[in-house]
Subunit: 177 residues, 2 copies
């Protein structure tokens, strides 16, 4: 059910996601959605953000920080999970979708928190690969920028190889240090 909500919000954005869209994507009727989310559409979007945060934590973050693996393996696994997360570039990023201005300031904090977590996780990989603190931070920020940008460009040019090549470049850059 959360998967349906997630798909709608990440592809259409908050304002673009209508209750009819959300109901159809979940297979529930509108009234049933309201039964589960008495606070309405905002609460649905918040639940989606929470769900994604957990998914990222349990998949991407965990694989990037797995102490039983070498940094190289961790990086590979993490990037592979990121590719899965964005369905190889076919799915939009929820950050992008919910950082559109809405009049609500509701998601700004969660988005900033998510990006901070992302950067600090990638920084760990850089440090493990021998980068300085400064370089590790810059590499992580750069990876975030490139992933976000390549998703936009992949969508705009209707060419998901942009996303895939970006992931490959990120890996190559990390491993060439």
């Amino acid at each position: 059910m959360l998967l349906g909500l997630t798909d709608v919000f990440r592809s259409k954005g908050y304002e673009g996601a209508s209750l009819n869209d959300l109901a159809e994507a979940t297979g529930l009727k509108k009234a049933s959605l309201y039964h589960r989310f008495p606070d309405g559409k905002q609460a649905m979007a918040v639940a989606v953000m929470d769900h994604i945060e957990k998914w990222v934590e349990e998949n991407i973050v965990k694989s990037l920080l797995d102490v039983d693996k070498t940094p190289q393996e961790r990086l590979k696994n993490g990037l592979s999970n990121i590719k899965t997360f964005y369905d190889a570039g076919n799915k939009d990023c929820i950050f992008r979708a919910l950082s559109m201005q809405t009049g609500l300031t509701l998601f700004a904090e969660q988005i900033k928190g998510g990006m901070d977590a992302w950067i600090s996780t990638f920084s760990e990989i850089g440090l493990a690969l021998g980068q300085s603190q400064q370089n590790a931070h810059n590499s992580a920020l750069q990876a975030l920028v490139e992933i976000q940008g390549s998703l936009i460009v992949s969508r705009g040019m209707n060419d998901i190889t942009v996303f895939d090549n970006t992931l490959k470049n990120i890996e190559k850059r990390y491993l060439s240090d």
Copy 2:
């Protein structure tokens, strides 16, 4: 008047931009907007895309291709105009705003065209700086990805230095070849 429309669409997206928003931003009443755009909101968004396309052509493209300047000067001027265009990272990109899924397929073609033009213009700079055709294309695509991504991350982290540093890095990378 187009400036007001542009501000609303690029910050709120197509679905998020209400006629009330658009009227307020232009200083006109809704009925007056409809007098100028009998085909309604879609026509307003199309006009905004056209307007931006022209602005980019007459400012960014022209400065990047100015035959009276060295490639180095052209790059500097072009990036400087890009910085102005995005108000140093404070304004969102219309590509991002209008590439959200809407049910309308209205803008996909214009966005693809805009990105193609962007890439081919930046490729010229790469070639003028001695890059191979292949490298010039890759550099241009990379610049587009980074600009788009840095705008998303700047907004999400509420830190426009991400955008500014990205522009600086693009310049440095081009000039270090």
